[in-house]
């Protein structure tokens, strides 16, 4: 009996684990190994691939590369912070203030932009922000301005686009931690003499920290790896590191350089997330659950 049971368990176990392993190895591990190897290769005059650090050295020699790199990192952090500032009150309202029934309807409304895809929402923002777009038209009709504001193809429009497509991914994890927050914790703090601000800073934020950090990781990853919003809304003036990678692969066809850039971006985002986890005192396992 017990032998059969054990055998049965093993078959099920392997059936479940195999797709996961296949997925990991074929779609994630192998391509990364290939990319890693090719990032250390250059073609010599004879057209043969030889080992070299040139791809990485090129990054540091060309100012535009690492400037873009730093800008991408800084903007991604900024957008993540903005996403938190904007969505935390929304998440708090949805979980603690309004009724359950209202909340589920409002969450559905929040999800609408996801239904149409990023490309459509990005074009939607172009309609809003363009020189002859809705916002400029509105401001000019009211007589507040007499010349259209230059809104589109700026860093501002890029940040708006990045925020819009990533914000929701902050709301959901924060909401799920706030949902488990017992209201009597807030009442107890107030009973012990805490002001609203103190309750927010000492009770609510620390309690929601795992959700905030996991939301921040998702938003940060989405933003730092996004291509559409910087490319379309940011125009020529805003450089984003993914655009550099795109250029290496598809414009100059220097795949080795592109692979090196890809690895640099991976290391950058992993490094920043590691730092953020350390600073917020959170554990990856706790945030991931």
């Amino acid at each position: 009996m017990s032998v059969e049971n054990k055998k049965g368990f093993n078959v099920t176990f392997y059936l479940l684990i195999v797709p996961v392993l296949l997925w990991l190895v074929i779609l994630i591990v192998l391509p990364h190994i290939d990319l890693f190897i090719s990032s250390f290769q250059v073609e010599n005059d004879a057209g043969e691939k030889v080992f070299s650090f040139d791809n990485y050295l090129a990054f540091f020699r060309q100012k535009i590369y690492w400037l873009t790199f730093v800008k991408t990192a800084a903007y991604a952090i900024g957008v993540t912070i903005l996403a938190f500032v904007i969505t935390f009150p929304i998440a708090f309202y949805l979980t603690k203030v309004t009724s359950k029934k209202n909340a589920s309807f409002l969450v559905l409304l929040l999800l609408i932009p996801l239904w149409v895809g990023e490309l459509v929402t990005v074009y939607g923002w172009m309609v809003l922000l363009g020189d002859h777009g809705i916002i400029n038209h509105f401001l000019m009709t009211l007589g507040i301005i007499d010349k259209p504001l230059n809104l589109l193809y700026t860093n501002l429009s890029m940040v708006i686009g990045l925020l819009y497509m990533s914000m929701l991914f902050m709301v959901v994890p924060v909401m799920s931690t706030l949902e488990s927050l017992d209201d009597s914790l807030i009442e107890a703090a107030s009973d012990l003499g805490a002001s609203k601000f103190t309750i927010f800073r000492r009770i609510i934020i620390p309690y929601a920290m795992p959700g905030i950090v996991s939301g921040a990781i998702i938003v940060f990853m989405l933003v730092i790896g996004d291509y559409l919003a910087p490319n379309i809304l940011g125009g020529k003036s805003s450089l984003w590191f993914t655009e550099q990678i795109y250029n290496e692969f598809l414009q100059t066809f220097n795949w080795n350089e592109g692979a090196a850039f890809g690895f640099l971006l991976l290391m950058l985002s992993s490094g920043i997330i590691w730092l953020a986890l350390k600073l917020s005192g959170q554990k990856l396992e706790k945030v991931g659950s």
């Binding site: 107890a188 107030s190 000492r202």
Partner: protein, 349 residues
């Protein structure tokens, strides 16, 4: 002793529903006052009004002579221990206890001194740096009480804080809470649905039913002389009989049991406590009424063992406490036995 809390004509309406109806009471300084009632009777609403989380629709709450109208919870000289305890999970024990003192902007050494002193009082020395999630139920309980008491409140409000504990621990904490209250002398207002908690710990108990106070009295009086039928039925165990008629000298139940009792008016119900009945009464003195019953079953429950009997010459069933001593060891089902009761122990309403 001076009254520390006065609740004057307080009512609370949620829409048309009256959760608390015209409640009046005073609590003496240093007293242990319990509000006893089943769930939904309005006791939590009343407590939350005293704490300041809800506002009374009518009436006034006065603490040490000052009206609490419009004063928010953080400014009231009361602290509350929540049913869920509401310990802050992201803080350790000493941070939990220090939270309120930090809000008062006290100096660090002063805070540390008071926290340590309070943790010592509740028997939690050495637990300062433990996470609250690592503590047992009883320890968490003590942290919650310490966190409130360290604020030196005029009144400590306790909202069924023993509800989540298992039976053994609850029995233990009952005694401990009572001793703690005696020792520190803070006024406690304790709400519970558990009559044993209220009876053991309180100096005064208010029995609450459908938003109203039925009776405010000492535990002994509440048990001995319940003023209303609800209190008689709610506090302690009772046999309940519907009365058919009465002539001032004799009560007659609907099933035809007749028993002598001098009474006034036209009562509807009769309550008899199982422990008020005397088996094989030696004398049928002036006020002792005697009658015979037949034993149906013996419900053995240790010290709480009862006889389920039928009163002879009627169909009325009567539960009688059976003392666990040698005298009654040989009682069998089907036996007939003489029973006596003092007229004062026949409570009719």
């Amino acid at each position: 002793m001076a009254n520390i809390l006065e609740v004057k004509n307080v009512s609370k309406y949620f829409g048309d529903f009256a959760a608390v109806k015209d409640v009046n009471f005073v609590v003496e300084e240093g007293g242990f006052f319990s509000i006893l009632g089943s769930s939904g009777c309005g006791k939590t609403t009343l407590l939350r009004m005293i704490a300041g989380f809800l506002h009374e629709t009518e009436g006034d709450i006065i603490i040490r002579g000052n009206s609490m109208k419009g004063i928010p919870p953080e400014k009231r000289p009361v602290n509350i221990v929540f049913q869920t305890l509401a310990l802050f999970p992201m803080m350790d024990v000493k941070e939990n206890v220090a939270f309120g003192l930090q809000r008062q902007k006290l100096g660090k050494p002063e805070i540390q001194k008071r926290v340590n002193e309070m943790l010592g009082r509740v028997g939690l020395e050495g637990f300062e740096d433990k996470k609250v999630t690592e503590l047992s139920g009883g320890q968490r309980q003590r942290v919650a009480i310490a966190r409130s008491l360290v604020m030196k409140p005029e009144i400590l409000l306790l909202d069924e804080p023993l509800g989540a504990l298992d039976r053994k621990l609850r029995e233990h904490m009952k005694v401990e809470l009572k001793l703690l209250q005696k020792e520190i002398g803070t006024t406690f207002i304790y709400i519970t649905h558990d009559q044993s908690e209220a009876l053991v710990m309180s100096d005064k108990i208010a029995v609450m039913h459908q938003g109203k106070f039925e009776q405010i009295d000492t535990p002994r009086n509440l048990y001995k002389n319940p003023k209303t039928a609800f209190v008689a039925g709610f506090v302690g165990d009772s046999n309940r009989f519907e009365l058919a008629q009465s002539d001032g000298k004799q009560l007659v139940t609907k099933a035809g049991w007749k028993i002598n009792k001098i009474h006034e008016g036209n009562p509807d119900v009769l309550y008899i406590r199982p422990e008020a009945l005397i088996l094989n009464p030696s004398s049928s003195g002036d006020a002792i009424e005697t009658f015979s019953v037949t034993i149906k079953t013996i419900l053995f429950d240790g010290s709480n063992t009862k006889l389920s009997t039928v009163v002879d010459d009627s169909d009325e069933e009567l539960l009688i406490s059976l003392p666990q001593n040698a005298e009654f060891e040989n009682l069998q089902e089907g036996d007939t036995i003489q029973v006596g009761i003092h007229q004062d122990d026949l409570k009719c309403y």
